[in-house]
């Protein structure tokens, strides 16, 4: 079977998920939802088929499973938003998906030869840093939970780190492609080969930027995500585990210093360590959120309580039991509804998505493509780890969106651009050799 037909067939799981999810939620909440709300599920399915047709024409050789996997992830998100916030937000979310696919198509068409991006790498890097700092601009930034995570423009709230992460990866992939040789070629000091300082400079700057992001915008999650991408690309480019170890050490020292000196980061650590201590549970910025996420997961058990069945709002009120159920804490809601099986299903889907990204990197024939695919895949993997790990208390909780699943426009748009880039790399890598020459 041809790749695009595989892709079409692979959309079946997503279709089943979205149909059963919408049907179940509608039945459970029939008193609150109108039947017209079911069409948002339909819109989504139509969108998937349209995307398949588009990829058929523009990216005939691209990996056939990346898009269906994204569709499954997006289903989880759409059903959960429908289930948590009802028809209104499901409509908004469905609209974001339409815009996301449009942006996806635009990216594919505009950057058909994505290697042109390398020409603009410093511009992209500067743009990314500006994006990251935007939430700190007075009157523009939105302050929540001790961090500046978003900016507010008339009509929309926008999360800059979601786009910045792509820019940073593009810059790193391009920069490392150029400097991988020199980074491993420096003088030996005390038996350790130290890279020349002038080549190391930008990396030190990046480390500083990640730390600065922590201090200035207080966004641990995004800085962790970006820093992990840096280390991953650095490692793949140089094959030097020592760089990674030094990098981790630097980050650990920086984080420890910040954790002990910045109140809201320290609070996050305390919430992580002692979520069930009443003094911490009831404190402002306390562990109420993460503790209740765990209660919700425990209630889900092995098989969950069923789509739309777990309790999300305090009865008799409109207060969410777990704050931010459709964004930061969506993983705990999924686990409460679908249990360990549903949660592992979601994680396996991410795993498969990331593995297809890595596969594209392996097949790619040039360093930039390899580093780009590795960076983009790693960024998604780390983002999942940061938020799911935060919700499940592997690490302190920091708010980053669960890619494709959390409610929110900027996250969806940015991730569709990311998928477009991955498919571009994949298409080029899997294209028969002769065509590469002519193309």
């Amino acid at each position: 079977m041809r790749a695009r037909n595989w892709e079409l067939v692979s959309l079946i799981p997503a279709s089943l998920l979205v149909v059963s999810g919408f049907a179940a939620v509608y039945i459970v909440q029939a008193n609150k939802l109108e039947s017209v709300s079911l069409i948002y599920g339909g819109i989504f399915l139509g969108l998937c088929v349209a995307a398949n047709l588009f990829i058929r024409v523009t990216l005939p050789h691209a990996d056939p499973f990346i898009f269906p996997l994204v569709a499954v992830l997006a289903c989880y998100g759409l059903v959960m938003v429908y289930r948590i916030d009802g028809a209104a937000l499901a409509r908004t979310q469905a609209q974001w998906f339409v815009l996301g696919v449009v942006l996806f198509a635009a990216t594919v068409i505009l950057f058909r030869d994505y290697r042109r991006l390398e020409n603009y790498r410093y511009l992209i890097m500067t743009g990314s840093v500006v994006l990251l700092l935007l939430p700190r601009v007075p009157g523009l930034g939105v302050y929540s939970g001790g961090a500046y995570l978003a900016i507010h423009l008339p009509g929309i709230t926008f999360q800059p780190p979601e786009f910045a992460k792509i820019g940073v990866v593009i810059f790193l992939a391009s920069y490392m492609r150029d400097h991988r040789q020199v980074l491993t070629a420096g003088h030996k000091i005390l038996g350790y080969r130290l890279p020349p300082l002038k080549h190391l400079g930008p990396l030190v700057v990046l480390w500083g930027a990640a730390m600065l992001a922590l201090v200035v915008i207080g966004d641990i999650g995004s800085s962790l995500m970006l820093y992990a991408a840096l280390l991953a690309i650095l490692y793949v480019a140089t094959d030097r585990i020592s760089f990674v170890l030094v990098g981790i050490l630097l980050f650990a020292v920086g984080s420890w210093f910040l954790a002990t000196h910045i109140q809201h980061i320290d609070a996050r650590f305390q919430d992580w360590l002692h979520p069930f201590k009443p003094s911490i549970y009831y404190a402002p910025l306390g562990s109420y959120q993460v503790a209740n996420a765990q209660f919700a997961m425990a209630a889900g058990g092995l098989f969950g309580q069923g789509f739309g069945q777990s309790l999300l709002f305090i009865p008799g009120t409109t207060n969410a039991l777990i704050p931010f159920p459709s964004t930061d804490m969506v993983f705990s809601v999924i686990t409460g509804d679908l249990g360990l099986f549903g949660a592992v299903g979601l994680l396996v889907t991410y795993m498969l998505f990331v593995s297809r990204g890595f596969k594209a990197a392996m097949l790619a024939r040039d360093s930039f493509s390899k580093l780009l695919a590795v960076g983009l895949s790693t960024v998604i993997a780390v983002q999942v780890f940061v938020i799911v790990g935060g919700v499940t208390r592997v690490i302190p909780l920091t708010g980053v969106p669960l890619p494709f699943v959390s409610y929110g426009g900027s996250s969806i748009l940015a991730n569709f651009v990311l998928v477009a880039l991955l498919l571009l790399v994949s298409d080029r890598a899997r294209r028969p050799q002769s065509q590469t020459v002519s193309g």
Binding site: F276, G301, P315, G339, L347, A381, T392
Partner: protein
């Protein structure tokens, strides 16, 4: 480069593995601990959305119900206030507190269903509702018990001997289940208001225990109602003198029937020794001693009866036990009023002890009966003929003995008094079973049923009465209870 890409990929796989492990940790391995964490309000919130089933009396009167608040949640209301507090208990999910039938029938009341029915339930679009629990409790008898106890610390238990149905279980102190945080007015015994005197109190049974000794003596063939004894006062029992009431001595040739009729302690001390500890132990167990009663009631709110020594229950065969004094219901014997009602019920039912119970049936929100609780034999205590013999002896107690205050014309009440010494006096110390400076404080008991209509067995206990003779304090209450409950029955 591909080699390092693969290595990096294995790190990514490891990260996902960690996430899976942690997710399973909370959903499976630590789930139970999280579900029971005091900070976890999920069950409470979920309960607010469920119409919990009603608890009903035998005449259909509502004892506990759920009412809908203006914001759509449900609250628990007890229309009878404190009258049924001990039996019905309370359901207070805000603080994870639950007691009584509310607890023992929680599953039915809350409508806990298995996954499949709940799935289909939600497909039908029906909202969750609990089942109604129909009980054996009798509002008239319950109200009478409250009236007769008149605020004094004590308990009244009435059981249908043939079915084990608990018609009345009232005790003081009590509380209002609609307002659990209300302060508990102090009582002389220093008992908390939610303490259940009927099932949780360990009390010396006094002479009511002679019913158990008599059953053992007759059914084992060791004695007959006409066996004779001498009843000197004092009699040295276990090395210390035992006095009869008013220090009266009874001549040789006194029959066992007379000994029960006049509740002669020095004779029953000898009867107990004649029966022997192993046999008495066996009959105590048949009557239900040494076990938590098999009632559909929370085990935490019940206590076994038996010899209680050094902080635990020991068999009467234990060498530290004073068999003679135990045979008159003193020594280390501690029983509950519920246990003594079971003793009366076993005799009234021809020696067959039925399992006491509160529930008759469970009915779902559609009105369908989902469970019927049938009467069940608990123990075969003695032969019917022996039960009849003992009944005749108990009749003599009411006609001419210590229990004449319970004689109700037309009912032929049979019974046994108990005046349990708690080793205290109104004034001054207690020396040799007497109070030189005041009068003794006793627990007054009466266990009774009607020979003519043995469909109710009642046990009455009143704590800490000065000169608290069972025949004076408890017998009239028992008679009133029998009269009212039997009139209702007919």
């Amino acid at each position: 480069m591909n080699r390092s890409i693969l290595r990096l990929f294995s790190v990514v796989v490891l990260m996902f593995a960690v996430l899976v492990v942690w997710t399973s940790r909370w959903t499976v391995f630590s789930a139970s601990a999280l579900d029971h964490n005091p900070l976890n309000k999920l069950q409470y919130y979920a309960s607010l959305e469920v119409k919990r089933g009603e608890i009903l009396a035998d005449n259909g009167e509502v004892l506990a119900k759920s009412v809908k608040n203006s914001n759509g949640t449900w609250s628990r209301v007890y229309p009878q206030g404190s009258l049924f507090a001990q039996a019905v208990g309370y359901y207070y999910p805000q603080q994870n507190r639950i007691a009584g039938i509310e607890q023992s029938r929680n599953q039915a009341l809350s409508g806990v269903q298995n996954t499949q029915t709940s799935l289909f339930g939600s497909l039908n679009g029906t909202t969750a509702a609990g089942n109604d629990v129909y009980t054996t409790l009798d509002p008239t008898g319950q109200a009478l018990a409250r009236k007769l106890l008149a605020g004094r610390v004590g308990a009244v238990v009435a059981i249908v001997p043939q079915t084990g149905a608990i018609r009345v279980m009232y005790s003081n102190p009590t509380y209002n289940p609609n307002n659990l945080s209300a302060p508990c007015p102090p009582n002389p015994e220093g008992i908390g208001c939610q303490f259940d005197m009927a099932t949780q109190a360990g009390l010396a049974p006094g002479s009511t225990f002679k019913l158990v000794v008599t059953a053992a003596a007759l059914n084992s063939g060791k004695l007959t109602p006409n066996s004779t004894f001498a009843g000197p006062s004092p009699l040295i029992v276990s090395g210390t003198p035992l006095h009869n009431d008013a220090n009266i001595s009874y001549p040789p040739g006194t029959t066992l029937t007379t000994a029960l009729t006049d509740s002669i302690d020095t004779i029953y001390a000898q009867v107990g020794q004649r029966v022997g500890a192993p046999l008495l132990q066996q009959y105590m167990k048949r009557f239900g001693f040494y076990s938590v009663p098999p009632i559909d009631y929370p085990a935490a709110q019940m206590r076994p009866s038996g010899e209680f020594y050094g902080g635990r229950f020991v068999p009467i065969t234990n060498p530290n036990m004073d068999l003679g004094r135990s045979s008159i219901g003193q020594g280390d014997l501690e029983v509950t009023p519920m246990q003594m009602a079971m003793v009366g019920a076993a005799i009234a039912n021809g020696g067959t002890l039925m399992q006491p119970r509160f529930t008759t049936k469970i009915v779902n929100s559609d009105g369908q009966t989902v469970q019927t609780v049938a009467p069940k034999v608990y123990h075969q205590v003695m032969r019917p003929a022996i039960a009849k013999e003992e009944e005749a002896m108990m009749r003599s107690v009411v006609i001419s003995g210590t229990g004449t205050a319970a004689n109700v014309p037309g009912l032929e009440v049979v019974g046994k008094t108990g005046t349990a010494s708690i080793n205290r006096c109104t004034h001054g110390p207690r020396i040799n079973d007497t109070c030189p400076q005041g009068v003794p404080i006793d627990d007054a008991w009466f266990v009774a049923f009607s020979e003519l209509h043995p469909t109710i067995a009642v046990a009455v206990e009143l704590s800490d009465e000065p000169n608290g003779y069972g025949g004076t304090y408890a017998a009239p209450i028992a008679a009133q209870m029998l009269k009212t409950l039997l009139a209702e029955k007919q």
